[in-house]
């Protein structure tokens, strides 16, 4: 069902693009140089912690299988511009989910418990913007892959959790989990809807191109299969804004 709806919406957007000549006036040669990209994105993150228990473990019991809001900001430095562009980027995100602790009788206790996730990503990014620059097609494909390190913290009402290690000691509920990620996204160039505003944005702020984008990203996060690591992997659909400058 979603496919036709998305296609229809996209077609409507493209049909609403201003007259071709108006956008043609937006000569790339008149723009400032492009060296960087700033991205703000939002999605929902559901770590695969319960995969360890066949899909029904503590995460489902306490957070009801929730997928908290995940916000992320990133910066990319473009190293190549030609047939598309290539860049290296860094991004930081944040997600938080809370639920009720479990009482000794198995019921939901009044105390809250939380899991906070803060992924940090180093990525190589390729943007296929050749069609945009050569033929004025306001769509850009972007591909990324790289390394992710997730800082996480599990908390109770009293602060960071201390769980039993089963041998008389405790395990502190915070740490980092790393792995790889890769993804692809479709960027819609917003400049075509308001070329004059876009020119002013470049002239006054230095932002050459603004994009609205959707991205699918797969993260495999389990310390590369370490047997003492949980699994924070997920496939996320994210939406955001990107600014080339």
């Amino acid at each position: 069902m979603r496919g036709p709806v998305v296609m229809t919406a996209l077609a409507a957007l493209l049909l609403s693009v201003p007259a071709h000549a108006e956008w043609d006036d937006f000569d790339e040669a008149l723009q400032s140089d492009i060296t960087s990209v700033l991205e703000l994105r939002i999605g929902r993150y559901e770590p695969a912690i319960d995969e360890e228990f066949g899909g029904d473990g503590a995460y489902n019991a306490i957070f009801d299988g929730g997928n908290p809001l995940h916000v992320e900001a990133g910066y990319e430095r473009q190293l190549y511009r030609g047939f598309g562009s290539a860049a290296l980027g860094i991004a930081g995100g944040w997600a938080r989910i809370s639920g009720s602790a479990i009482a000794a009788d198995g019921t939901a206790a009044p105390e809250d418990t939380r899991l906070i996730l803060a992924p940090i990503r180093l990525s190589a990014v390729y943007r296929f913007d050749y069609l945009q620059r050569r033929f004025r097609v306001p769509l850009v494909l972007a591909f990324e892959g790289g390394f992710t390190y997730v800082l996480w913290s599990a908390k109770s009402e009293n602060g960071v959790s201390d769980a039993s290690d089963g041998a008389g000691g405790t395990v502190t509920g915070r740490g980092g989990t790393h792995g790889l990620h890769y993804g692809a996204g479709l960027h819609l160039l917003l400049d075509v809807f308001a070329p004059n505003m876009a020119r002013g944005f470049d002239r006054n702020v230095g932002v050459n191109n603004s994009y609205l984008f959707a991205q699918v990203r797969r993260s495999n996060l389990n310390d590369f299969g370490d047997e003492t690591s949980w699994d924070l992997s997920d496939t996320e659909l994210m939406f955001g804004l990107a600014f080339e400058f």
């Binding site: 503590a58 019921t107 206790a109 418990t113 939380r114 502190t172 792995g179 003492t228």
Partner: protein, 311 residues
């Protein structure tokens, strides 16, 4: 013309119930009990400010609930048609544009004990203090007198009593869920104790071993107390608080026993979860591909720096 300001000293009262601009004061149950600590002291002070003139006389009548005083003449006291009117003072000569007069609470309300606040047959009673001034010209026209009335309303009405649906306890928190009343302005408060709570006793008269929370705007109420210990059973009850500040009778008490809880990470570990926390993890042999990628990335960065150095 004159104006009047209500000045009430020595009491820590609910300021929301004092309308100084109009000289009105609503006394709720807590205020009443506080006031009655000084029932026979002259602690209720009323202040009158005259715009002009210091000639003539003044007097005060206290109009009991349902009475109808003749406000026109301070000297007409004791008339047969003035049943329920208490001639407090006067006629006195006006010597200043500001007149203060202090009254004993027991004289205003007609009782002198804190328990008297809880045993009213009528829950809203108006006691009106009529300040009457003679005209400085002291003539016999209808303008011969001016008067100002300050109203003290003793409001001991209680809201409905809410009913508790459930009380759940963790290791440090007791959560009480209850049916809220159909009034958004109502607040709620919980009472709790390790000994049984007698809900037949008015909330204001509960013994000192019964603790209470601050006001909450609705259900649930969560009670936190550093003295809570796992295994202890608490009796809990709730009351509704109306806008006047009066609480309802206590709801039927229920019990909740504090018990150990497991947070997310404790539950995960108890289920056999393998994560051990910490910020570094050594990659095992089977994940050589990942480690190799990291190594290649590090090498690439090193070579890039080296080239820059050659330039």
């Amino acid at each position: 013309m004159s104006s009047a300001n209500l000045r009430i000293t020595d009491f820590n009262l609910d300021s929301g119930n004092v309308d100084r601009a109009n000289g009105n004061w609503t006394v709720n149950i807590d205020d009443c009990r506080e006031i009655m600590r000084y029932a026979d002291d002259e602690t209720m002070t009323f202040e009158w400010v005259l715009d002009s003139g210091t000639e003539g006389t003044w007097g005060i009548k206290l109009q009991q609930p349902d009475a109808d005083c003749d406000e026109s003449d301070p000297e007409r006291v004791g008339d047969s048609d003035e049943t329920g009117c208490d001639f407090v003072t006067g006629p006195n000569s006006i010597s200043s544009t500001t007149i203060d007069y202090a009254l004993r609470p027991s004289r205003v309300f007609g009782f002198s004990t804190a328990d008297g606040c809880l045993t009213r047959t009528s829950t809203i009673e108006n006691f009106d203090l009529q300040f009457i001034f003679s005209n400085p010209n002291n003539d016999d026209t209808s303008n011969a007198y001016v008067w100002y009335q300050s109203r003290v309303t003793l409001n001991t009405s209680r809201p409905e009593t809410p009913e508790i649906n459930s009380a759940t306890a963790g290791s440090s928190v007791i959560r009480i869920s209850f049916d809220e009343l159909d009034d958004d302005a109502i607040d709620y408060r919980a009472y709790y104790s390790t000994t049984p709570i007698d809900s037949a006793i008015d909330p204001e008269l509960q013994p000192s071993n019964v603790s209470m929370t601050d006001n909450w705007s609705g259900s649930p109420i969560e009670i936190e107390n550093s003295d809570f210990a796992v295994g202890e059973t608490y009796y809990v009850s709730v009351v509704a608080i109306n806008t006047t500040g009066n609480s309802s009778e206590l709801s039927t008490p229920v019990t909740a026993t504090l018990q150990a809880t497991s947070d997310f990470f404790e539950t995960y570990r108890a289920q056999g979860g393998v994560e051990e926390g910490g910020y570094c993890a050594a990659a095992p042999a089977r994940s050589a591909a990942g480690s190799a990628m990291l190594l290649m990335g590090a090498l690439a960065m090193t070579r890039r720096r080296a080239r820059r150095g050659e330039r």
